[in-house]
Symmetry: C2
Subunit: 314 residues, 2 copies
């Protein structure tokens, strides 16, 4: 049989004929005329090259070939029904994939939203990509993900960014550091000591360095380290001073002390970024909507800065 000359409409009509056992009745139900249905069946039989129904004693009898075709149609339409269900869930954001790329530091924040979201929407896949700022930026350029999380606003074309959380930076020193017990320290005092910093592209470092530049200060000595954890551990073991997002600092005593720097309050923001030159994936919209409504609930409300409305979700 030649599938090319068979349409779904044709099969629908055929199924109705088998179900009702009548061409006229089918015509009535499908709001067609009797000759139309008659002709459709004829065409279908030509495509199959085998009689599907035969008139016998004024009644329509379905042949073996017809019965088997009917069963085949049932299965086929069943699969399309399943696909429609799938589509509905996909479009409703209940299913599908929302790929999120984030800079390293965001690892400490995003899971607080992702966990509850994932529990509510178990069929949504949430693959995470974590890299340094340059890597995530490259992913954005290539459009590899649905949502990007940065702590420094990337002013790019085809992008919409929305703040959702403040990102205060803290200076930490070893507990035995000369400055550890001073009530108030000034930035100019700090720069005399050795600093442990992330790579040049990182948002934390950029923010810190632009502040130094603004104030005309220069670091006397700095060591580059690959991760926030490495810096934390290095500070605890006395290697120098670290500058870290408050969100990555564990609560309680961990062998370092947070300084109160009187003349420098460094803070950036966390942003959700999406591309505007693509349609946003349903699951991604679903996640961002969830975030918009639940930021205060799952993140430290004190730092939340909910500006997700700029993304025009909904």
């Amino acid at each position: 049989m030649d599938l090319r000359h068979i349409s779904f409409r044709l099969l629908e009509v055929f199924m109705s004929v088998v179900k009702t056992g009548s061409i006229s009745e089918t015509a009535r139900r499908l709001h067609l005329t009797q000759p139309t249905v008659s002709l459709q069946i004829k065409r279908l039989q030509e495509a199959v090259d085998e009689p599907l129904v035969i008139m016998q004693q004024q009644k329509l009898h379905v042949t073996e070939a017809g019965h088997e075709l009917f069963r085949t149609c049932q299965r086929v339409f069943g699969h399309f029904d399943d696909y429609n269900d799938f589509l509905a869930e996909l479009k409703g954001g209940e299913r599908g994939r929302c790929k999120i790329a984030m800079v390293n530091t965001a690892q400490y924040i995003l899971p607080k939203l992702l966990g509850p979201y994932s529990n509510l929407h178990p069929h949504v896949e949430l693959p995470l990509e974590i890299g340094n700022r340059a890597e995530v930026l490259a992913r954005f350029e290539r459009g590899e993900d649905d949502i990007y999380v940065f702590s420094h606003p990337p002013s790019l074309e085809h992008a919409k960014a929305a703040r959702f959380l403040q990102n205060p930076l803290e200076f930490i020193v070893p507990t035995d550091h000369p400055l550890a017990n001073q009530q108030h320290v000034e930035l100019s005092e700090l720069v005399k000591y050795r600093f442990l910093l992330r790579e040049p592209g990182s948002a934390t470092r950029m923010l810190f360095e632009s502040e130094l530049q603004r104030r005309g200060l220069v670091l006397s000595n700095s060591v580059q380290m690959a991760s926030n954890e490495a810096i934390r551990v290095a500070v605890s073991s006395g290697m120098g001073i670290g500058v870290l997002s408050r969100h990555v600092l564990p609560i309680g005593d961990h062998g370092f002390k947070v300084l109160t720097v009187s003349d420098a309050s460094l803070a950036s923001h966390w942003y959700f970024v999406i591309r505007t030159d693509r349609h946003i994936a349903h699951a991604a919209r679903s996640f961002l909507q969830f975030a918009e409504y639940n930021l205060e609930r799952y993140l430290d409300a004190h730092w939340v800065r909910n500006e997700l409305y700029v993304l025009n979700l909904s």
Copy 2:
């Protein structure tokens, strides 16, 4: 999604695009131009109202919706492949149904063909209908079966009949009957005794009675019985003379004796009858072809009269 605007061709093209990961390559393989394929995919996406593939970095990426549709298509085409296999078997006579209606007496003959045929073609259903001549004739009129077996040529419209076996009639008498030991008996002698006969419509009786009429003879005494078996048993117990097809007589001694009637040799033929106003079912053709080639093998070759060629099978 609206199935009405989706054709199988469209899905075929889509599947090729997913498989090759390229619109141009698909165009080449399916002997289409690239814009054609491009447009088809666009139309399919409109019907589904959801992107199925997206261009990213000069490469085609299949979305979740696309993947799921692809899987759906695989299943759907799988079902149609199965149906095609079914159709092929049906058309080859390897599958399907061949409904045969036969008069009572044929029960003794047809199984000899049906058994071997059924072993060779295990997927062919062979429902049998058995009745007296009138009943089978009525079934023929209504076209309820694929093949009819008669022993008297029904000269009907829309029918083709082909002889395949002689049907000699024999006179049987109880072993203690006055005629039982006579070498030669004449018909005029016989009619003085009581006869056991089938109902008026039966072929055996019709043949016998027309012979009597031709010869100007009249039965003095006859009793009607409903089946060949009943007649056989009745003859054995001395009730009278029977006229039966030779094919229904068991071999060996069974309490009756076959007469040699010198001036009457009654014989009709067995016929396969099919309607000419319907397409013959593939399985029916298959069975008749089998019969045409194997009559001599499975029936008593002495009585075979193979004229099945008149049915124009093959």
